[in-house]
């Protein structure tokens, strides 16, 4: 924590010195885009190349400049008091800042993201937390947490939630795990997760089920990373067979994103593997499909052209090209065509037998 504080003070001090010398102060931010990241398979995540943009104080930038500094000041206060603020709360705090207040939350979110990237820290380290839900867990896992009041150890057995699930907290750094599961199955949709929980699939396959609900949140990514790294268990990802499932959900979970590249190091899951739905699955399982929409095609082509992760993987290029050639996409739930529990009885067992052949 003090490390972040130091960074805030150092940067404020640099700005102050410039102003004292009657020079225009600047702030530097890494460019947050896929164009500014590279992928080295050995290191396992998208990392920044180092392009930075400068925000120099001018008439046009004076408002954002002032707001950025005020957010830094708010962050300093939060860290010192060991408090937290949701991004929404931070937005409301700004309402005290007269002319420097934020009109809409997206404006304050952007500035918070900027500060986070500037210091190359996680926004939780700045004292800001998202409202988003972390993800749901069920199956053969015991999470060791602390009681919020007494600080006493709490053991949470994820097999004991019945038809419900354990909810991943926003901050996961303090959690410890106990498990003897063979693998973690990470699922895109809450619907598929519910089906597998209802039929106690985790018991049958001796695994941990985690629902992402779309693109995984940072907490979810960090939770899976710590779990798989700490307990050395493989992670299999089960998403829709479409460009969004591949290049947004799976890629973000495995190697991180271009937008928050400065934290990818901590928030990637390098040993994640892609179970399905693969383009080949669509053929093999004769799945009902929908045609690819224009946005799907654009996303797929974009991934082939610009995504450093896809670009280095021949297998992925082949799979995406195959999907483009077929011109269709298939959802996880499409397996229901063969019977509601076909996924449990046939699809997953068949796929898991050939875990080595999962896409990287």
């Amino acid at each position: 924590m003090t490390k972040t504080l130091k960074k805030i003070e150092e940067s404020a001090s640099t700005i102050h010195n410039k102003i004292t010398k009657k020079q225009k102060p600047s702030m530097y931010f890494p460019i947050r885009a896929l164009s500014n990241v590279k992928y080295i398979p050995k290191r396992g995540f998208l990392e920044l190349i180092g392009q930075k943009k400068a925000r120099t104080l001018t008439v046009n930038t004076v408002k954002t400049f002032a707001q950025t500094l005020r957010v830094m000041s708010l962050s300093k206060e939060l860290i010192e008091k060991d408090d937290i603020a949701t991004k929404r709360e931070a937005y409301y705090v700004s309402k005290n800042w007269d002319d420097a207040r934020f009109e809409e939350q997206p404006e304050s979110d952007t500035v918070i993201d900027d500060v986070e990237a500037m210091f190359e820290v996680n926004r939780e380290q700045l004292g800001f937390i998202p409202e988003e839900k972390g993800g749901d867990v069920a199956g053969k896992l015991v999470v060791i947490d602390k009681d919020q009041e007494t600080g006493k150890q709490l053991k949470i057995d994820c097999t004991k939630f019945g038809s419900g699930a354990y909810s991943i907290p926003i901050s996961t750094e303090h959690l410890k795990f106990e498990t003897n599961a063979k693998f973690v199955l990470v699922i895109e949709t809450a619907g598929m997760f519910q089906r597998l929980v209802k039929h106690n699939y985790w018991k049958k396959a001796n695994c941990i089920l985690i629902s992402m609900g779309g693109v995984p949140t940072r907490a979810c990514r960090r939770f899976i990373r710590r779990l798989s790294e700490g307990k050395k268990i493989p992670v299999y990802v089960f998403v829709d067979g479409d460009p969004y499932g591949i290049s947004n959900i799976y890629r973000t979970l495995k190697v991180g994103s271009g937008n928050a590249a400065h934290i990818n190091q901590y928030f990637c899951v390098p040993n994640a593997r892609y179970l399905g739905i693969t383009p080949q699955d669509i053929i093999d399982y004769k799945l009902p499909t929908h045609p690819l929409k224009d946005v799907d095609i654009k996303r797929a082509k974009d991934a082939l052209k610009n995504d450093p992760f896809i670009k280095q993987s021949k297998e992925w290029q082949k799979a995406i090209n195959q999907l483009l050639k077929m011109g269709v996409r298939a959802e996880q739930q499409a397996l229901a065509k063969h019977g509601l529990n076909y996924v449990i009885e046939k699809y997953l067992p068949q796929k898991l037998k050939k875990a080595d052949s999962f896409l990287p």
Partner: protein
């Protein structure tokens, strides 16, 4: 002619009506009778317009007379409502002009198509000699009252007073009263017409007309007393009289076949070549020979003979011969300076500009376009711009959409000059635009002189003048916007710099003095970088 021929044919094929029967029905139509039935052609469509047209004709005549006599015009216009009536008004127009010879008064005011302006090519307000007598006739038709004229030509002479009615059958004046009277002024003319009318406020009203007249004639001093007895003065803004326009001979290109035949008949020249060189402008002996050659005519032929037999060939030959454009010094524009003076006098705006184009020619008629523009100030931000049209310094109030000036203004892309404009419409914004066409012959679309006809040459000149003024306007708007931006920037800096001070103070635990220094330094840095 054709009718009688036809009826002859019909008799031959033994129809019941004989040529004699038809001939009995044929009779001459007097001009006055014709206009009685077609008064809308002269601008007397309805009581409201009748009042305006009457005043317009009176003012036009006064201004023309004063300018020809090189007198700075003082004009008084008064409208009285006739007692115990709703729709009867007495219009009095009085000037300090040269006066009218006693012998001329009856014909000028009591005979249609009598005037000094039709038979010459010279820039003037009136053209045909219809206006004032038509107004008098309208009054006579609606109220039965004669037109009253008092005129004095010099302080040494007494003033004459006439009371006239038009004999609409014969198109001749009938004198009701003819006497010598007392007259307040040393010199001038006073006309009184009583007519059925309606007095209304607004742009197409007498007030609007007089205001616009005063803009285009900054050398005139006009006083207007409305029916409620309220006096409005439109003072003189310039003591310079317009340069007197020169009279020119017609240019061959501007002549129609009928007029050509008439000119050939009426010429004093003995042979065709002399007729061409003497009666037309820009026809040298060489050009005359060329025309004759092209027409296959002999230069020595008698013009009156040509008129009958070979006028057509001559007419065609003229079109085929290259003839120099007519002289353009016959036009007297208002002038860029006077336009601005006229506008400034009536409109409280932030910016004025004007442009007088060099003279140009349409169909052999010289003309000149002028544009004046006022921006901002009291002019309303919302809505379309106000467009004032003038022809030979006379405001045109009606038929705006039929006029070439309006079309040119619409076809100019005002967006380039900082105004908003939807396609097919005038631009919007706080702008008053005046466009003046000066010409020896203004091509009106009709005799009521409300809209100018669409000649491509005219449209082009109007557009060029508008564009020039547009460029001036755009420079002004840009400069104004820059100043506004500057102000905005300044307040922007003031707004946000203190927050940088606060934030740095909070993060670095600075004291108030240090915070103040930050704010002062930053203000300096940013203000310096503003240029």
């Amino acid at each position: 002619m054709t009718t009688s021929k036809k009826s002859k044919k019909l008799t031959e094929t033994e129809h019941k009506i004989t040529a004699h029967d038809l001939a009995k029905k044929q009779r001459e139509i007097s001009v006055s009778e014709f206009f009685t039935k077609n008064r809308h052609l002269l601008g007397f469509d309805n009581p409201r317009k009748a009042l305006l047209t009457t005043i317009k004709e009176g003012i036009d005549n006064s201004l023309d007379a004063c300018e020809e006599a090189k007198i700075l015009p003082d004009i008084k216009v008064r409208i009285n409502q006739v007692k115990n009536t709703e729709d009867r008004f007495r219009v009095t127009i009085e000037d300090n002009g040269p006066g009218i010879l006693k012998s001329h008064i009856p014909k000028i005011f009591g005979k249609l198509l009598y005037g000094s302006k039709f038979h010459r090519l010279k820039m003037s307000r009136g053209q045909q000699g219809i206006g004032i007598s038509a107004a008098g006739m309208y009054g006579q038709l609606t109220t039965g009252k004669p037109i009253l004229i008092t005129s004095r030509i010099s302080p040494k002479q007494p003033a004459h007073h006439y009371s006239l009615v038009v004999d609409t059958q014969k198109n001749e004046p009938r004198i009701i009263k003819d006497e010598i009277v007392d007259f307040d002024s040393k010199r001038g003319t006073k006309v009184v017409i009583e007519l059925e009318a309606r007095c209304q406020k607004g742009r197409q009203s007498v007030d609007g007309y007089i205001e616009q007249t005063s803009i285009a004639n900054p050398h005139a001093d006009i006083t207007y007393i409305n029916p409620e007895d309220k006096e409005t003065r439109y003072p003189r803004a310039s003591k310079e009289l317009p340069v007197e326009p020169k009279e020119i001979k017609p240019h061959p290109y501007g002549i129609e076949l009928g007029i050509l035949i008439k000119m050939l008949h009426d010429t004093k020249s003995k042979n065709l070549r002399a007729c061409l060189t003497n009666d037309f402008s820009r026809v040298s002996t060489r050009v005359a020979n060329e025309i004759c050659e092209k027409a296959g005519l002999h230069g020595k032929s008698r013009p009156s003979r040509i008129a009958v037999q070979e006028a057509d060939a001559l007419f065609k030959a003229i079109k085929l011969t290259k003839i120099m454009n007519p002289p353009t010094d016959c036009i007297s524009p208002i002038g860029e300076e006077s336009i601005i003076k006229g506008l400034k006098k009536q409109i409280n705006a932030d910016f004025f500009t004007s442009n007088t184009r060099p003279p140009s020619v349409y169909r052999g008629n010289p003309f000149q376009i002028e544009v004046g523009l006022a921006y901002g100030g009291v002019l309303p931000e919302e809505g379309l711009i106000r467009l004032l049209r003038f022809a030979n310094r006379v405001p045109l109030l009606y038929q705006q959409s039929a006029c070439v000036i309006t079309e040119s203004a619409i076809n100019t892309s005002w967006r380039n000059y900082g105004l908003q404009q939807s396609s097919g419409a005038l631009p919007s914004g706080p702008v008053l635009l005046m466009v003046h066409l000066a010409s020896v012959w203004v091509p009106f679309t009709s005799e009521s002189k409300e809209a100018i006809a669409h000649y491509p040459e005219i449209e082009k000149e109007v557009k060029l003048a508008l564009q020039e003024c547009g460029r001036h306007l755009s420079t002004f708007i840009k400069r104004k916007k820059k100043a506004a931006d500057e102000f905005k920037k300044k307040s922007y800096i003031k707004k946000y710099i203190p927050h940088i001070g606060i934030a740095l103070k909070e993060i670095l635990d600075l004291n108030e003095k240090q915070e103040l220094k930050i704010v002062n330094n930053l203000t300096d840095i940013l203000e310096r970088s503003r240029s």
